[in-house]
Homo-oligomer: 620 residues x 2
Amino acid sequence: MKPLTCTTLSLLISSVAAIWPVPVSHEYGNTVLFIAKDVPFYWYEPGARNVGSITDQIPFLFGFNSNQAPHAQDSSDLKLRTQYTGPVPSEKSETVTGKGITSDDIVVYAINSTWATLFQTNFYPWKFHPRDWDEPSPSQSNTSYISRVDVKVLKSAGPNVTKPLAGEVDESYSLTLTKEGVASISANTSVGIARGLTTFSQLFYAHSDQQHVYTPLAPVQITDSPKFQHRGINLDVSRNYFSTADIKRQIDAAAYNKMNKFHLHVTDSQSWPLEIPSMPELSAKGAYRPDLVLTVDDFAMIQRYAAIQGVEMITEIDMPGHTSSIHYSMPELIAAFGIQPDWNTYAASPPSGTLKLNSPAVYDFLEKLFDDVLPRVSPYSAYFHTGGDEVNKNAYLFDDTVKSNDSAVLQPLMQKFVDRNHDQVRAMGLTPVVWEEMLLEWNLTLGPDVLVQSWQSDEAVAQIVSKGHKAIVGNYNYWYLDCGKGQWLNFYPSVSANYYPYQDYCAPFHNWRLIYSYDPLHGVPAENQHLVIGGEAHMWAEQTDPVNVDRMIWPRAAAAAEVLWSGAKDEMGQNRSQIDAAPRLSEMRERLVAKGIGAEPIQMPYCTMEGNVCSLGNLG
Amino acid sequence: MKPLTCTTLSLLISSVAAIWPVPVSHEYGNTVLFIAKDVPFYWYEPGARNVGSITDQIPFLFGFNSNQAPHAQDSSDLKLRTQYTGPVPSEKSETVTGKGITSDDIVVYAINSTWATLFQTNFYPWKFHPRDWDEPSPSQSNTSYISRVDVKVLKSAGPNVTKPLAGEVDESYSLTLTKEGVASISANTSVGIARGLTTFSQLFYAHSDQQHVYTPLAPVQITDSPKFQHRGINLDVSRNYFSTADIKRQIDAAAYNKMNKFHLHVTDSQSWPLEIPSMPELSAKGAYRPDLVLTVDDFAMIQRYAAIQGVEMITEIDMPGHTSSIHYSMPELIAAFGIQPDWNTYAASPPSGTLKLNSPAVYDFLEKLFDDVLPRVSPYSAYFHTGGDEVNKNAYLFDDTVKSNDSAVLQPLMQKFVDRNHDQVRAMGLTPVVWEEMLLEWNLTLGPDVLVQSWQSDEAVAQIVSKGHKAIVGNYNYWYLDCGKGQWLNFYPSVSANYYPYQDYCAPFHNWRLIYSYDPLHGVPAENQHLVIGGEAHMWAEQTDPVNVDRMIWPRAAAAAEVLWSGAKDEMGQNRSQIDAAPRLSEMRERLVAKGIGAEPIQMPYCTMEGNVCSLGNLG
């Protein structure tokens, strides 16, 4: 046996193209092309428009030069809209004010952000090459540069491009980069352009000289579109407080993984951090601190910040359970608040408490709350999530409007409660979203428009779609990012041994490989699979706060993002391979870190420097 | 049933004093005392010394004022050494140059660092009080201030205070704070003073006005000493690279948890980041990158940085296994390098490889290596760790000096190999440390001085001490901080299902409660327990790098620190209670975060704001 020859073999198995999530079809070459900071981006669109108008509206953009305005090369009906060349100022687009976002805003932001990724937050890929690697040199006589990046919006913008129902916006794109250095990204929509430019940026690496940027992959041919329409993460900002900066980092990372939904679980029993101007006491008394609040401006800003990246924020105000924090301002609305020590008879987690189920005061409160929140959601989203998970019937024993835990008593009241909420959501032009329990456990009659979010099992997904509803998946055994950190409850000595070794209900920790192995369509009959519109990875925040939130979500949620964009099966219909995915995910992790998102490492550098040397099994 | 009355009960169970690790004896009052930035620290010591000499030697210290020089109040043989008043400049003591550290340096650093903790990196404890909390007000007419902090070193410094064998330095201290505002910390040694001042700093909180600092706990009476002599963390800086700043953060956190050892696992198979001036190619070719190296200056600096905080750095160069990174510079010394794909027949993790076991060239290399490293260790430590874990006998099939995996052939060669190493360690005046396998698996005859580090089981600890050796514990099922994150190996589709759900060998993730439940003396007969000198929590770095290292180690290693300082049993001989520990550990976590160490949260604020409301079990 000669061990060293085996090493040589493994060195050949190396990732050359690390686009994450993997595109539908992709061909790469091995020609090195550099790209310079003054590379021109040409923006084409159908028909004639006012060239240069964007630079008037959005003054932070880089310089406009109308002298070089070539016609689009492959789409004769496209006209040059404008051209950008030069550096991006430090102010980014989240500072744009005003209601809503246009399709044009998305294109401008995508170009802007691609430039920043290429030249300001790129990464030096030493971890993906052996120690004796020959880095491409910009000083060689045959150094070629990319001459232009064509950005072609093929169709005029339809309605709701920034606040779509799932599937309403075409996110597909095609990308070509010739060996001679002409890049072209084409898409039917501005969001498709954003996705294509994201891919484009991932073709490039920073040189160790910290000056140059190059791709080793020309020529490139990519066509791409998402497998699922709804691809998101869900962040709980109630159990711990997160600043807008913390939230924006998660949106940036989600967008860079081509996710298109950001679900904000904005209130829960532990705190109410959302400012409600018509009832300011809700956050003044219900937030952990009066100053730890998402203000009206903050709330609008993060929705805009998401929308401009083609990410729709879906706001959830969970109810009737998970509402104890209302008690701090309006104790008369909440039943069974803060029962101790046997809180677990009345709630999934302390403090117990639920909105009363048959209370005119609660109904008045809800109308006022929805009147306040929904108009602030509707410029940015087609949805509003009314929650509905983990309602504990025992809590209604303490509800003076009900005094019963009998389903026969509670169910009609819950139907009325949800009907009221959903009527008001629809009146604002929004589509309601609920957790699966409302449909499957409470057997409510929900409108056919209602989107149902599943979390408990694949069987639940199958049931939801069998009832004709669209479903979002996120089985907690796979896609709950909090699982496996162990208990956050404290155990008295009398019971401590019973809970040893202190694992949580959804242990083990969900390694990215487990997340990656989850197929949203598993167990769903073929005829209903079209109703599974996507899924979300969930970050519940009992043990997560701004200090560790990036590391808890990333890069593991990226594994979900690839499943949702590319599908759980490869082109051969097989489960996607870790061998292919691991180095690409490690590279995505480095790209996220370079962008200021503290994603965890999934392997040591040795494992990615030498090809697939950290593997078990065989090539067969 | 009236749920709200139960809540009232739980509110009474609140942590009032959050010293971590918990002192041996402690009494607190409920008087609020503020402390001002100009509070004088009086440093007393036995006999007459040159007042003010420290300010000459260490120019970064704050102002000296000899006008107020009261005699020590309770120890008539103590004389005032010097007095410090005023702010700490931004330069900290890690910039001191020169060999070794003196006992005086430790006192000065401790005062300096206590001042910084009190006034620069303190924390506002809103998470430990209900929403309607009445914060102590500095504007009340009866506001009292602490008038002085007496620091009394009761004995002249013995030898080796900064490079002790375990137990050689007395770390006990006593602390009093009168209701009138006189604080006094007394200890037999400068290290005891450092421990006492650490406790002192934990009595204080920052006011929300960001101006004032106070304790709500006067009067205070604490006497304290450690249960175990050896209390440490072990950081692997080979599998991932860590900068000196990353390493210093871990030392700071260890010292703040009253740990006194910092074990640096500085080389391994994946990289050799330690600069060896006599053989520069070792790191030039063996580090992940030539610039990702601990230079000679870095190595001295981090040892000094630890020593001045009463933390002894123990350097480990693991051998003969875990040495594959030597192959990159000296391939002739390493057998069985980089076998693929069946690396796991030859090594615990890739790349396989071992120092040849019967090679004159290896012996020459080791002599040169030790000659280079040991003189750089000896100013700062009494120990040198020669490793010895996970030696895979099959690797010697490829060793041209052995060509066998037969224990009968290998064992005498290993004995000779270790004897050579330990003779050279002793010749430099150092004490060897080895991993348990050298004693228990290879049955080597080790000198009685050799300290044996256990990791595999409690039974191993019992065996080590039954053979008369001192033991360091750290059972991987409890104190390996890497466990439970899941596999870092990639599985080919042919075997992937066999490894589902991709847990690692030492899953589950070790929640702090599991770490806290570990008793270093478990299973050790009473007559041998004195040989269990302490333990270490281990941070192996396959999935840990600078981005997540703080969160992977802290606050979980703090749970080990309390077991080691305070013992696994409380004063009643019972396992320590999570109910008592959890809020204190949450507070330690906030103190670490305030100091710039990214420790994870273990509970949401709700759980610590309202007393023990996040618990299960009963008070009985």
